[in-house]
Symmetry: C2
Subunit: 189 residues, 2 copies
């Protein structure tokens, strides 16, 4: 049964990576099975509902990988403003890398799949919530009042996703740097 997990994970990892990088509609199932070297039969065995089920699993996987990365990187600095700024500057630094661990933007995939079906939208919402909550917990840990932490953490998430989108479109991470510079202003007011 080790094989099961193997193939399933290979398909899922490949799908998540391609969906995140190129988008949902631009990624064909054939591309996924080719890249993951798995037959189509296995795809539909492990994901009987096909592409949509794969999308839910992919966005969830991508989200939890991002969440882990945020958590790790925020732990490096005790000051929350510095921690978040530090994290964003790292995103800018690793902007060119194709490494799937550095694929931080969820907007493209989420914008594409959320309207398809409620189950897909719900998965996206959950992933967004997970990411924002990671900032929230950092702020709470650092003594921010609950209300303020709730507010700011959402804004942080919005700013990072927005900056990533603009950076991807322009193929230039300077917008991430600009956002990083504004974080302290946001936290200290």
């Amino acid at each position: 049964m080790g094989a099961k997990t193997d193939t399933r994970e290979k398909i899922l990892n490949t799908a998540a990576s391609l969906f995140q990088k190129n988008g949902y509609h631009a990624t064909g199932l054939n591309e996924i099975i080719r890249e993951s070297e798995s037959p189509k039969g296995s795809l539909y065995y492990h994901f009987p509902n096909g592409k949509e089920e794969l999308a839910i699993a992919a966005v969830t996987l991508a989200g939890s990988m991002i969440q882990e990365q945020i958590e790790e990187k925020l732990a490096r600095d005790s000051d929350p403003a510095q921690a978040i700024k530090h994290y964003i500057l790292d995103l800018a630094d690793s902007f060119e890398e194709e490494n799937p661990d550095n694929q931080v933007s969820l907007s493209l995939l989420a914008l594409e799949i959320a309207p398809i079906r409620d189950s897909l939208r719900d998965a996206c919402k959950q992933v967004f919530e997970l990411c924002a909550d990671t900032y929230y917990r950092k702020l709470i840990t650092c003594g921010f009042p609950e209300e303020k932490a709730k507010e700011i953490s959402s804004i942080i998430f919005v700013m990072i996703e927005g900056a990533m989108s603009v950076s991807l479109v322009r193929n230039d991470p300077v917008m991430l740097v600009a956002v990083a510079e504004q974080i302290s202003i946001l936290l200290n007011n």
Copy 2:
């Protein structure tokens, strides 16, 4: 020759609306000609390079419509923070409307088409620049120093696009309201 403009514009308007709402890859040429009630021959007569050329024209059109809207709405309040906040709250208010004038998010379309080809990326960059520049000019008019205005206007654009993306995914405009509340903090620091 009145007919020419008519058909061309009908195709372009339809394409822009569908691309913006549903995305580039999710929108088929057949859907565009059906919805615009134009034959395929006309599409390829007016846009010989097919879907990609249509995408460039569409993102440019959508961008200039958004730019006009921003400009109009920013003119309502003399105080820049109030003007921008007012504009964003209007976006939140009209979130449910399907009216193409209220389709303000460019992220989905831009994220999809920018990687296809440099000419498409360039068109997206130009549109982004156009929008950010509208905030910039408002800030300059209100006496902001050049450097600060440059910085802030980009951040505003990023925050609004980010908030629109999150709102679209969640199908809930509250994130726009949250961003609106932060504008004054950004401008006064």
